[in-house]
């Protein structure tokens, strides 16, 4: 068994803030079989070569969104990416692009979290339903659920921000995941918070910084399709703009 074991050259970007000025590369020979994930390759490196290697992980099954990182320059979830798909090639693992590197493969996602918070990612009921007793339910038809369900699959992994050149060029851009969640709550029939979220959608740093590159939808590990949500958000914002021109609110 050992003799037939395949190995791959895996290069990992290292950065130790207490001693390094800049990130540097370290290469390891990692044995793998048909279901070795990138995350498992990192475990192997940590267990056998470099105990100090830091990376985030939790669920190992593409639910928690902790292990987003760049594999050969493309944002991936390490737990959902397999070495077999890179057979015959080498592999380079880097921390998620467009975020400050904290240590090795760990990035500072504060900006992503703050932006998601900004759009109020929770159901804001209207005045009539605000004090609804807990034993009563909102009614929702399958179609009303279908309207937002795809966009509710976001796990906040940050892969779309790493893929977005507009976020790279202008970090003020609120970004794909925040705009997707904004759309997701706006089209939920239980929600009445669209007006509160509108300023973040209508502004320059909102939907209008997007130029429809479409790479976010390409890399999204949960197939949320953020670029679709942003275009639908632009339609929402443009409608609001036209109505505001006809009948200004302020």
């Amino acid at each position: 068994m050992e003799a037939t074991q395949k190995t791959m050259k895996v290069t990992v970007l290292r950065y130790r803030p207490e001693q390094d000025k800049e990130p540097w590369e370290q290469t390891f020979d990692v044995p793998y079989h048909k279901d070795t994930s990138v995350l498992e390759a990192l475990f192997y490196i940590k267990d056998n070569f470099e105990p100090s290697l830091s990376f985030r992980w939790s669920c190992r099954m593409a639910v928690c969104g902790s292990c987003g990182m760049m594999v050969n320059g493309v944002p991936h979830l390490a737990c959902k990416t397999f070495l077999r798909d890179y057979e015959g090639k080498s592999m380079k693992i880097e921390p998620l692009a467009n975020f400050p590197i904290e240590r090795d493969l760990v990035v500072d996602l504060s900006d992503l979290i703050e932006k998601i918070e900004r759009i109020k990612p929770y159901i804001i009921p209207d005045a009539k339903n605000a004090n609804m007793p807990l034993n009563k339910n909102f009614k929702q038809t399958p179609m009303q659920m279908e309207a937002y369900l795809q966009f509710a699959q976001c796990i906040n992994c940050g892969c779309c921000y790493a893929a977005c050149p507009q976020y790279k060029l202008n970090p003020k851009f609120i970004g794909p995941a925040a705009l997707t969640l904004l759309y997701r709550y706006n089209v939920d029939n239980r929600d009445a918070g669209a007006k509160l979220r509108a300023p973040f959608l209508n502004s320059e740093e909102g939907a209008w910084s997007c130029t429809f590159v479409g790479y976010c939808s390409e890399v999204c590990p949960k197939h949320v399709d953020p670029s679709s949500a942003i275009q639908l958000g632009k339609k929402m914002s443009a409608t609001d703009y036209v109505f505001n021109m006809i009948k200004p609110e302020h």
């Binding site: 050149p165 060029l169 202008n170 300023p199 973040f200 209508n202 502004s203 320059e204 740093e205 909102g206 209008w208 130029t211 632009k234 914002s237 443009a238 703009y241 036209v242 505001n244």
Partner: protein, 125 residues
Amino acid sequence: MRQFLPTRSDEPMYWLLFGAGGMVASMVLPAIMVVLIAAGYTSDDLNSGFLNLNQVHNIFSNWLLSLIVFGVVFLLSFYALHRMHHSSHDFGIHSKLTWYIAYGLAAAVSFVSLGLQLLMYVKYF
């Protein structure tokens, strides 16, 4: 509280023009290019070549056809320059200047076209 909220962008106006212009560029412009190429190819025949004088006279003396030509020029120029304005941002140029150049040029091209078309319309009748 309100002053902390971001201000509304005027981008929807340009985006709607861009969307309409992009549709024109994808649906109508290929055929226009074929006509222009054909006109160049048959330009030796001044009486029955593509875009011969009688044909263009008939286009620009008809207010509806002339308006359609203006609409194509207007939407295409805003579409193209809107995209180029955003491309300047993609090349790392973040300045209000490209905004003035892009939409100023688009407005200028549209106004020149409209003025000349009105001039011709008046001249032909």
